[in-house]
Symmetry: D2
Subunit: 138 residues, 4 copies
């Protein structure tokens, strides 16, 4: 398992008239957190794209547990629990500054060759980075 | 079952650098479609809120099947398949202008009393509107 | 002068915790309105892009006069007041369903050749469409 | 004059199909930067709101000079150049990681009493914080 914590401050424009973060804004938080997770491991998502690999989202499952509010300093915990193949699954838990779990999600992304627009293998550098974290698995 | 089709034109600002609609924009489409579904049945969501009933999203499950592009004229088909209780589940299928299914989702919303911030019963007018569509069910 | 009225329904996700449309959402309304203005005149913005012409925004000036609310049915009036050259200026007035002027804006866009990323002339079809509306001018 | 630099990383969802940050996303950057400017001076915008003071945007003027790209690390320089009264003007300059000026803006906000929805005086703590920076002025 590979885990990373990333902090995000809630913007005013991300709230809605209910006074809480609009449910549709969480995907932006997930995206930012997984980019920073990769960066922390020395992998730049932008450089993957420059080499012709895209990672579109195939599936997203979100459970809203409690509300987030304007100016909250959220901790987005992102985890990779299984060694990825053509697909990679990111697990999310979002905590507010009081340590309360407010949101959980799983996002499945697929590696796609930009030229062919077809699924492709995981980039070698990402595979190498993740392997030590899944040592027990064949 | 109660079904409604709503058309949405994709905005430029809803696309991302991959050239397609950003995966995080679909919740806005779902929201617009269910509001129009209710309006078509004579129910104003804004008037529900004015009477102190909110409908936050508890769970969202999305499958991205194909891309949507700028200026696409999408048909968002929204369906209520089970008679709602404290919760109501909206099923979505999104088609592009070629009739291709590009996206599916289920969103679970809960009726909440704004004053107490606790779950409450489905508003009577919404229950009455839906009942004829679930006649076979007890 | 060329003028077009376009109606837009305010989405829940476009409001903020102040209970009104977030000031940063209006550019999406302006964009949708000018696309529909062009479409009403037989010009598809997406087809301009397919032929290698982009129209990035160079300048935007907005005055917020009154608030817009969730579910408001806004009329976005967009006008071209001067015959465009390399630049084109869109003037906006936004009215709510009570006919109240709530917002005004001017956006200056520039025609850009996608290949060279340099300014280019107005596309011929757009020039031809606009000319009758500026007949007194040489 | 009071100046503050705030860094913002561009999200994928903030880009559009032109491959650059959508022009409508900059207001979110301005909002985040002025909130952090106030926080750096010991003033919490959320606590102003809790005491019934809102600061809606009245006017926004933006000049787009060059593009911002996905994953850019922008520096948003926000300045207050005149001592505020009922209104406060924030001046912005946005630089990319190469030090290039890509965007400039001025936003005028007004202090509003939430209860009466009418303009009100600048909160005392904000006035006291800013005064030393405008010492030469009466």
């Amino acid at each position: 398992m590979y885990t990373y914590d990333h902090k995000i401050r809630v913007r005013y424009g991300e709230t809605d008239k209910m006074g809480v973060v609009y449910h549709g804004c969480y995907p932006l938080y997930y995206e930012e957190a997984r980019t920073e997770m990769l960066r922390s491991a020395g992998i730049s998502y932008v450089s993957l794209e420059q080499r012709g690999i895209m990672m579109p989202v195939m599936e997203m499952h979100v459970r809203y547990i409690a509300s987030a509010y304007y100016d909250d300093l959220l901790t987005v915990r992102v985890a990779i629990r299984q060694p990825p193949g053509v697909r990679i699954v990111f697990h999310y838990q979002v905590y507010n500054q009081d340590g309360q779990l407010i949101n959980e999600a799983e996002l499945t992304l697929v590696f796609v060759n930009e030229a062919t627009r077809r699924p492709c293998r995981i980039p070698q550098e990402l595979k190498a980075m993740l392997e030590p974290h899944f040592a027990q698995q064949p």
